[in-house]
Symmetry: C2
Subunit: 323 residues, 2 copies
């Protein structure tokens, strides 16, 4: 038995007969060395871990998702390797190559950034060739045959508009990333649908596209700016709780009453949103449900199913004082 053969077996390469493979593994096992996941991974071809690729771990939603994914994977005896993308597509490609060379079992790609379908399809194929499961979180790509888990953001956007319209809070503005965010676009589409459903006119001066990030300061500065310019609106749907709190802080600093002068709805359901005053009305984000669906999809894929799962998680409108 040559070193080359041993190496081929340990590396799980083809062109070794099952008999030889078994003999090599038995010999290796017979050495009686303590359980060694790296050795086991080499034999199985993979380390029993999942790569979670997140847009920005410093944001509340990603941290919450990371916690729930970690709890769930732990239950399944798997580890979590965390990669922070920080909004760079070249970084995404690097990370995918890194995951392949580490031979992790699966990749969960969770970012609100807009990634071209062609890029996702390429990543998916590249990982599939390496025997690595790929599941997109937040990007609906099941139409392309790829598994994905998404929130029902369009429905959520429309529901927020209906809620505000019914309470007499029109004109309703929208604040969020639109151009470069997948989830942002879907929420914005829901906002537009909500306007139509409630017989409201679309007004481009009420569409406040945030180009930099989903953050407190962006929300704060945008609110100051639209008030300075005298834009006429009675309420605001912000596509994250961070933007919503920033906008609310600016409104309060301008001595506006929330919700009487400006009603505000956020997206995410972060824990602090219930403890700010006025407490923030928000469309919650059930990260535990995402993790559960990921687990189901992973098990199905590891069991050899080629069905692409597609889970759509509803968002609940959590009514508090801000709208």
């Amino acid at each position: 038995m040559s070193i080359a053969t041993v190496s081929r077996v340990l590396r799980n390469l083809p062109s070794v007969t099952p008999e030889t493979r078994e003999r090599v593994l038995l010999s290796v096992d017979a050495l009686g060395y303590a359980p060694n996941p790296i050795g086991q991974a080499l034999r199985a071809g993979h380390i029993n871990a999942v790569a979670l690729l997140v847009g920005d771990i410093g944001q509340g939603w990603y941290a919450s998702l990371t916690r729930d994914m970690q709890v769930l994977l732990e239950r399944e005896g798997m580890d979590l390797v965390l990669f922070n993308l920080g909004r760079s597509e070249s970084r995404l490609n690097e990370v995918v190559e890194r995951v392949i060379s580490l031979r992790l079992r699966a990749v969960a790609l969770a970012t609100s950034d807009q990634i071209p379908s062609a890029t996702i399809a390429r990543i998916w194929r590249r990982l599939a060739e390496a025997g690595i499961v790929f599941i997109a979180i937040g990007h609906r790509v099941d139409g392309l045959g790829m598994p994905s888990i998404v929130y029902d953001d369009e429905e959520a956007g429309a529901r927020a508009v209906s809620h505000l319209a019914q309470r007499g809070f029109a004109p309703i503005a929208y604040m969020g990333r639109i151009e470069k965010s997948m989830t942002g676009q879907v929420r914005f589409a829901g906002y537009l649908r909500g306007l139509i459903q409630n017989g409201l006119e679309r007004d481009p001066s009420l569409e406040w596209s945030q180009t930099d990030s989903f953050r407190f300061t962006a929300g704060y500065n945008t609110m100051l700016d639209v008030r300075r310019r005298g834009v006429n609106f009675r309420s605001l749907i912000a596509s994250s709780d961070e933007l919503a709190l920033g906008a609310m802080a600016a409104a309060l600093d301008l001595k506006l009453r929330v919700p009487e002068d400006v009603a505000i709805i956020g997206f995410s359901g972060l824990e602090w949103a219930g403890y700010v005053r006025p407490a923030l009305t928000t469309l919650d984000a059930d990260t535990a449900a995402i993790a559960e669906q990921f687990s189901i999809g992973l098990k199905s894929a590891l069991a050899g199913s080629s069905d692409s799962i597609s889970a759509v998680i509803p968002r609940r409108l959590v009514l508090r004082d801000s709208a």
Copy 2:
């Protein structure tokens, strides 16, 4: 050359001559297989990744630390494997064994939970035997010869008292985990020192020990409870921003003015704390500085230094409106 020999070399076990080892590795390399970090790790004995063990990734400070550690390790070409401890000592032992079997390069243990020095020392030895670097974050154990990175929490606690005393906000209460939290104990010691330095009497009715967790609801309920019982105090130091916001929400719901009736100082410097109203005065937590010190300690340890580093990171008092 036997399979046993190849295996010993690949597993980096002793009793192989350097010549044989070199010959095996050359043969394996000569197979011309694509770079394979697992194979490389087996040869080097380790995967080029760091395990970050955190108390609770759902809490803002841990998420912030995770982001900064990730950015820093990425710069060094290393990956981050995240383990969430969730306050269980048996879980800690399991994770340590998992890290050893995965042969990661280093462990950063970041939890505010009180862990007996004997336990930390045992973990440190266990990891050292496996050639894995160990650095404690938040537990000062350099006196025992172990590397640690901590905030100067005693100084911070004392400074918070001085600030409140100078503004006429005595009597000053303290709210936080005391018994089972290492950092909580140190902050509380700083609070007691601050009282002495400012000529204030210690009053056990103003020491509100939180036994469950560092959370919004605990802060909220405690504030309701002490007000209901008529406890006399003018200000509050809360050992996390989460507790502080919960307490502030309860105070505002009780129609108290902040800071005029109750002044509040938190700990952590989380981003939302600057956008709640009134904006929260807090002792910030420079997680980027922790990550930098970790990097320095890791490089030193990997270079073979046996000096135990001990970095103490100061906390800045960020003055806003709540105190």
